[in-house]
Symmetry: C2
Subunit: 297 residues, 2 copies
Amino acid sequence: MNQTPPTREDFWIHRWTLALGRQPSKGIRHSIGHDCAVLSPFSSQLDLVLKTDAVVEGVHFSPSTPAPLAGRKALARALSDLAAAGATPRAALLTAGCPNARSAPRLREAYRGLARLAKKINLPVVGGETVRTRQLLLSVSLLGTVPKNTSPNRSGAKPGHLLFVTGKLGGSWPRRHLTFHPRLAEGQWLVRNKFPSAMLDLSDGLGADLPRLARSSRIGFRIDPGQIPLSPRATPKLAFTRGEDYELLFSVPPPLTPALLRRWPFSTPLTIIGSCLPIRQGCHTGGLPLRGYDHLR
Amino acid sequence: MNQTPPTREDFWIHRWTLALGRQPSKGIRHSIGHDCAVLSPFSSQLDLVLKTDAVVEGVHFSPSTPAPLAGRKALARALSDLAAAGATPRAALLTAGCPNARSAPRLREAYRGLARLAKKINLPVVGGETVRTRQLLLSVSLLGTVPKNTSPNRSGAKPGHLLFVTGKLGGSWPRRHLTFHPRLAEGQWLVRNKFPSAMLDLSDGLGADLPRLARSSRIGFRIDPGQIPLSPRATPKLAFTRGEDYELLFSVPPPLTPALLRRWPFSTPLTIIGSCLPIRQGCHTGGLPLRGYDHLR
């Protein structure tokens, strides 16, 4: 007769999932510990939103970054994309890459940081896996929902629409890229009230993300560098090139602008930084460089 | 006036997503090229199934593995888990980790292999991202559906239930772990016809996966080594320890067994390898070792 000892992987997964704490269970049929997570269906009035995003040690955080902040960042980045879709996060899957047993405590701490943010926004972590990688890696996949047919994308901006950003830009380093608050409430409110014609989150800097919006929408644009809301000690150039601001960039038709400015219910700053132009009129930035952080340069 | 050159990341993403081919578009509102993928809701009679799974160079495939087979494996492994849930895959997200520009052609080939399998089963790849990692890595997240309240998990096996496996075991190396066919049709048929009381896919070998089922269901079991269906040149010990068979392991109440054997419509072999016991009677394997591939040993 043999015993059935858990494998070391089972043991770790059990230890780590403890760190995820008690999971909200409404609508979750199967969760961690089964081959797949199974959720009961959402309202037929809700579209489904999917996003995956990863952070890697040496790229998105450093070996000296406190592990709980690395874990927090992994989830917060993916949430920022859901914010840009106006979506409500409903379930998360977590893939953890870990070099060896010696890095296990650091990974467990990263789980804790991620779990704390998930709990705060009542987001269940319903599954995931661990793999062996040469560097610490956390990949988060999210399922969210958004009222049917309302989620903006990058391609709806038209000449004449005004360009808005939330928050202040250029101040992501050294710490804010680890502690930022994804603009979930702001994104949901904007979409529910149908203000944005196009929206994305600023992950790679205005200099990279603005061109993405422009290319998708087939427009040009004019930015007024003096209007860019800046973090302490930031410059317009940093707002264009540094990345990791995780604020929302969106376009709004001019007739909706007064209502947006009047009704904006958040303490988060809201700023007009420029406007969309016909594509043939090109892209004008007052000399600021149109490039951003490029992951693969 | 500045130009808006795509970043190198944008360029690659564009090149690679071309390899994904024309995407089925029914029900997909936003796909690759936006912050999130947005899908219209499925029937309210369907539960949602979530799974994420990664393959890493040096762990799940080697530097000499043809890249299209590595990409294929990344998707096939995740599909195997959906098969164990009886689910139909509906949308995939792909995270690619890539060391540098020199490895780009290999990654593009991996995309091609993945895209070929996705196309074959009519599965749209709706989003994803690229990150810089020290070794090639492909992580696939899947959204699937299964008729409401039907998906089995690992915890429903009871003493007396018979233990079945599909296919033949122990022959995953050197090649089958790259070319196996996930048992999607078999899993969907089993669940639709309510045969399994518990089910999982055999990824780490019977010696690791059987104890998982047993622990979840709080049962013991008795396996007859002579009944294990073996691949050419495999041994019962390899079936227990080698892993990567990606066949289905499931338990069935005895009254349902004759109908299952009579109605099984597939050419895939279906074999009874043992039965479930009360937990106090323990785990009997005729001396075969209860352990499997452990990712983190």
